[in-house]
Amino acid sequence: MLTIATYGSAVPLITVGPGANQIGGLSGAWANAFAADYGLQVKLLQTTFSSSLLAVQQGKADIGAPVYYNPNRAKSYYYTYPVDIESLVVFTNKSFSYSGPSSLTGHKVATVTGYVWTPYFQKFFGSSLQLYSSATDAATALKNGQAEAYLDADINYFNAPLSLSPDIALHPVSANDFGIPGGIIANESYWIVSCSEKELANEMNAERDRLEANGKWQTFLGQTGAPAGTPIKSPPLQSPAEFC
């Protein structure tokens, strides 16, 4: 059994369902290939973003759905090779006049609990920041008009409820916007395993090497289920610094 803690779908990175314990997208294809090679059955532990991190840390799940790297988290997890690269953007309605972070001051801004960017947003916006437990909830708040801007990775534009909506505008974020260092504006997503399971991380990486070598990864890139034109950036195969 390979228990995977997930926190929802986000094509092309990951899809959950439609059946029970079904996982897809780029990272899902990687995990499924790994499970098949080792004769393991995939079991999903579907939860919130923060709880997925804890599930892996506490051994309730073997691996956790891809997350961004930060040195603090690297004290509790091993990171596999990256799955993709995602960039922070500001989502607003087209009618909203966005000219930079300061144009959001005094407006209702939504994001998700637990992102590497969230502490910077909290510092920038203070108590007026609306923190949701999932990207779907935060994006729904934007669509409903309960938030005037939504801060998250660009891949959320391809997922419900935004789903390439023509009413939504994406604004790029530059280094030092919202006080965020340039190095973490764009982030790789990695599968995570607990500090006590380094071997599992190594085996996942070996699987990724095999997929690259036999050409299956290229096939997966074409079968992510993402809409045409979805930018998929496949990063170099290397794990970040570990502090376990």
Binding site: F49, L54, A141, N144
Partner: protein, 241 residues
Amino acid sequence: MLNDLGSWTAILLGGLVVTIQLAAISLVLSVLLSATIAIMSISPWRLLRIFAGLYVDIFRSIPILALAISAYFGLGSTLARLGITSFGTAVGVLTLIEGAYLAELYRGSLESIRTPQWDAGASLGLSWTSTLRHVILPQALPPAIPITLNMTIAIIKDSSLVSLIAVNEITNVANQLIAVTFQPVEIYALVALLYLALILPLSQASRVIEGYVARRLGIGPRTERERALRQLTSASELKVG
């Protein structure tokens, strides 16, 4: 570690303030709503009784979490147009659901006043409303006080459920802290301590007021001797049984 605990406590206290605000506003509104519903449920007018019964049945059957999420996201654009924030939605949801429970408790309190009291009012020529106001409510109010305090505790605890609609109450703040620090045991232990610090005094006050009201209404022991005698009696009844 001690430094961490200090800074975490300071951050969590910010969330506790929101929890207290949320519970206080919801409690005041719940009391007003439930008192109205309780009076409607004992009124001589059938339509009002039906409405009160429907309200109680519906809102006692819906889980707080389900109502909060469906109201906040389902009615999202309407709420946004009306300028109702996640805090406002949370207050509305807690008021509706806790109000249904409290209404039933208040109804019980009103119905505990015996029928001759109503008859006495009527024999003095008082209308139903005047009998309620001058005869029934003054007797029904004292036992309602400890009930309300108990409900306050329930509202404080239930308020943690609205963290899922982006209300920055203590549970939501704790989740944010955990996502950054990865110290769930320590942070949830702090949250539990803060809840205890808030709820224990209320719980004690509820017990004291309950005892006071019981003595005033002659349904509880007035002295320590009476209390001891009652305990002895109930113990011997248990043995006989």
